[in-house]
Symmetry: C2
Subunit: 182 residues, 2 copies
């Protein structure tokens, strides 16, 4: 009986990537994490390699040396047990505690904006809006690269990032209007 522990967020995501691009290298997993503009994860080698070793130790992925490549690549595949763990991680996401664990540094700061003098508030909100617009553009561009038919799930995930970015931007504009128009 394998350890039935719940995977961490990054573990679940990495295992999901291994499954999706099976077989692939650890490096590939890192690159996939990096290419989404909306990903929280830095996915440095310092987190990914030990993480994947751990998953291998627990039998969730298996490795095979790629002899055709002189760099000593290691190809990763998900195991039957890994698939079961991934499913478990997936459905565990429908809990109040995970739904509410969304961190938003912008919103956090809004509560304390009165610490800035009015002029600086305006400057800050201006810059924020400009950066948020740029971020929205990034997420939209990323969405445009996902095929709606071939990569349905990637498309829907990327769509979520766009929708959230739109909502944040709209909220920011409301804030700006509320604070600066009187």
């Amino acid at each position: 009986m394998a350890s039935p522990r719940v995977l961490s967020e990054l573990e679940g995501v990495c295992l999901g990537i291994v499954r999706k691009y099976d077989p692939c290298t650890a490096y590939h997993v890192r690159m996939k994490l990096k290419e989404a503009p909306s990903s929280h994860w830095k996915a440095s080698s310092g987190s990914v390699y030990p993480l994947l070793s751990r998953l291998e130790d627990e039998g969730l992925i298996k490795t095979a040396a790629d002899t055709s490549d002189g760099r000593g690549r290691t190809l990763l595949s998900i195991t039957r047990q890994g698939r079961a763990s991934l499913k478990k991680w997936l459905v565990a996401g429908a809990s109040q505690n995970l739904i509410s664990s969304l961190t938003d540094p912008i919103r956090s700061r809004m509560f304390f904006l009165d610490a800035l003098p009015a002029a600086q508030q305006a400057t800050y909100l201006d810059k924020l809006e400009a950066e948020m617009e740029r971020y929205l553009t990034d997420t939209e561009r990323h969405l445009a690269n996902q095929s709606q038919v071939e990569e349905r799930y990637n498309y829907l995930g990327a769509l979520g990032a766009v929708k959230l970015a739109e909502a944040r931007l709209a909220w920011l504009r409301t804030v700006r209007h509320t604070l600066l128009s009187c």
Copy 2:
């Protein structure tokens, strides 16, 4: 010259709370962190007390023993240096890297939903939608408790939580419709 390091997210939030309810106890800071349904922070004593000690060591807050209370309460106040640090933390929020660091466990999972058989996908999405509705209600209730005039910044922050929750729910419904209607 004091250490000009940038505060972490939780440090900034805690310092902001101290400033807002100055003077207040560390316990009060924890309770404030807990009462928002959209807060990412668990704000356990194990994080808050050492954090506030650190801020005191760096001269960002000062403490005073409350002799009128037998429990040995310690009252916290923000210092001039603390105000400067808080402002710095605030404006540092307008950076691409912080804007994009929004973690969404629901969206993360969407990319891998194809790991579940269709029937389980439907069950999962149903449960998710129900929980998201409950979460939206929580944030709305919290918003209703914030005065739009007296607590303008708290109101705007809570409004952001509601707007994000609405956008996530709308997106979830799109996902459900897309995946289950064919």
